[in-house]
Symmetry: C2
Subunit: 345 residues, 2 copies
Amino acid sequence: MKKKTSLNDIAKKLGVSKTLVSMVLNNHGDEKGISKVTQKKVWKVVEQLNYKPNLVARGLRLGSSKTIGLIVADISNNFFSTIARSVEDSASKRGYNVMYMSSDENEQKEIDLINMLKERQVDGLILATALKNTDEIVRLKQEHFPFVLIDRYCPNIKTNFVIVDNRMGAFSMTEHLIKCKHHKIGLLRISPSHISPIVDRVRGYKNSLKKHGIRVDKRLIREIPYGKIKQTIETELKKLLRPPLRVEAIFFLNNMLAIAGIEVLHKMGLRIPQDVAVVSFDDIELFQYSYPTITSVAQPIEEIGKKAVEILKEEIDQGGRMKLKKQIILSTELVLRRSCGCFLT
Amino acid sequence: MKKKTSLNDIAKKLGVSKTLVSMVLNNHGDEKGISKVTQKKVWKVVEQLNYKPNLVARGLRLGSSKTIGLIVADISNNFFSTIARSVEDSASKRGYNVMYMSSDENEQKEIDLINMLKERQVDGLILATALKNTDEIVRLKQEHFPFVLIDRYCPNIKTNFVIVDNRMGAFSMTEHLIKCKHHKIGLLRISPSHISPIVDRVRGYKNSLKKHGIRVDKRLIREIPYGKIKQTIETELKKLLRPPLRVEAIFFLNNMLAIAGIEVLHKMGLRIPQDVAVVSFDDIELFQYSYPTITSVAQPIEEIGKKAVEILKEEIDQGGRMKLKKQIILSTELVLRRSCGCFLT
DNA sequence: TTGAAAGCGCTAACAA
DNA sequence: TTGTTAGCGCTTTCAA
């Protein structure tokens, strides 16, 4: 690759010091009392040589890379890529760029990624953590490393986070199913089982049942391992649908489960919602076009990314020592479509 | 934020030079003949102080950031986020991390992003370019800046690229429609109109018509501006469907058009494929779950990202002076489903 | 109105 | 077997 032009090259060409050039380029020219003439000359040569500042060098000197790290389970997942986009935009507005990494919900991998991002001197971290062992999060906090959790939070640690009201979302959805006269509602959740939104959604489901005096049958709550959805979901669905359980409705706790699950239901020849009602969490585009259209709990995805960056920026500005950590809980919205069967009655 | 421990801290604590420490850490210890004892000691202190190398500093020194830049139209688009994921994985395998940016098909923005990435000293660039004016690409080439184009290529410039055989894909799809007895086929393309895959797809469509002696009616080819799909697609569809044109089939040239278009068709009360057959380019997950399921041209998306990184790595290793630029054209696959109507007859 | 020098944290050539 | 020195490109303090 061609040698790039540096501050020094410009300085030499003009017979001035690089200090001067640096000042001019950073618009400290006037304030430092550098003559208009000299400033003009500098800009001209900058133009001529097509000078581009080396942000790595500047970052090293300034101790700030103007980069933030984003860790999600999988960037190719629509939910996370939408977040990634809004993070990108908000960050860029504030002069930051972002480096993303996918953890695949794998704890060790996530820890490695966090460290990689730290070594790369990112100024802050936005993470949808899969960590069960929260030592790493605690360490970040102790080190006053600026970070914001999204989607998931750690109940026992005071951190910044931006999440949605998962409990309430699942509660409302379950309420709706019950109103539709479904009392035997199967729940498909994902593991690892500690991920906070899932825990909260299960909680919301249970609360609704209890409110209506419906016994919570643990057999109706089934767990599918992340990364093995396709292999295991059929078995689990059949357990729910056949005697003795025979559920009337199925609540998928995230979009991946719903997608895989509905395919299986179709293959089994079951009609939705006539034979079994179906609802999901995460309102993705697919749900409004699939057959039937899927009733689901919608999250304000863009808002999550936007808020997260906003908070992260504050935290960075305060050197990771923000006194009152910001804990944002955004509300969800019930999107009623065909799959729950409420339009039938 | 807490002060991080540096090489110097370790060196001081041990009373040795940082050179020595650096050598040990980079596993040049044996080769440089540093005693096992000393090496052990170094590692111990590294452990104690929880030392993390500063990759920014190393990058500055080595003139290589081990970072690659990825520019796409929109990271939240499923097509691009899937590419992003495979780029991430292949890059990481080779010791690189990636910084992504979305251009929104905007030329000026893309140029700015390229420059930003250069300033950030990325070692190479993977870009799905929207550039009509290819000066910037030419410049990259002249500078021997390592880069690989994906999805789109510049016909007049010899560069590395990884694309799919768009012409052939659209040709096969059109052939299929004709075999299904559809002779009046409307085409919905996207603008900016110079984007190579779109141009090639239109070409494939025309070739197929010609082969069958069907006159190419320009009125059947309609252009929708990127970013204004929702606002304009209804009008365009109506033009196609109503007299005098009255098409029997519609070929959407990308997934966004198809999604928006099908919604409109449903709203108009048209049955697919009975009233109008529908096919699309880009086989996204949605198409296998939508109603009806959508026949489409599938691209080997993961392969695109993987190949691109592979080639970029070679180019980087050769300092951007790779003699024979690699030009990969991957083949597409026709995925037949319900929307084209071929299962009806 | 300008410049010299120091230093961010790291590696590599060259000494010792 | 280990250390000295220089320098990547930049900003900033202090001096002129």
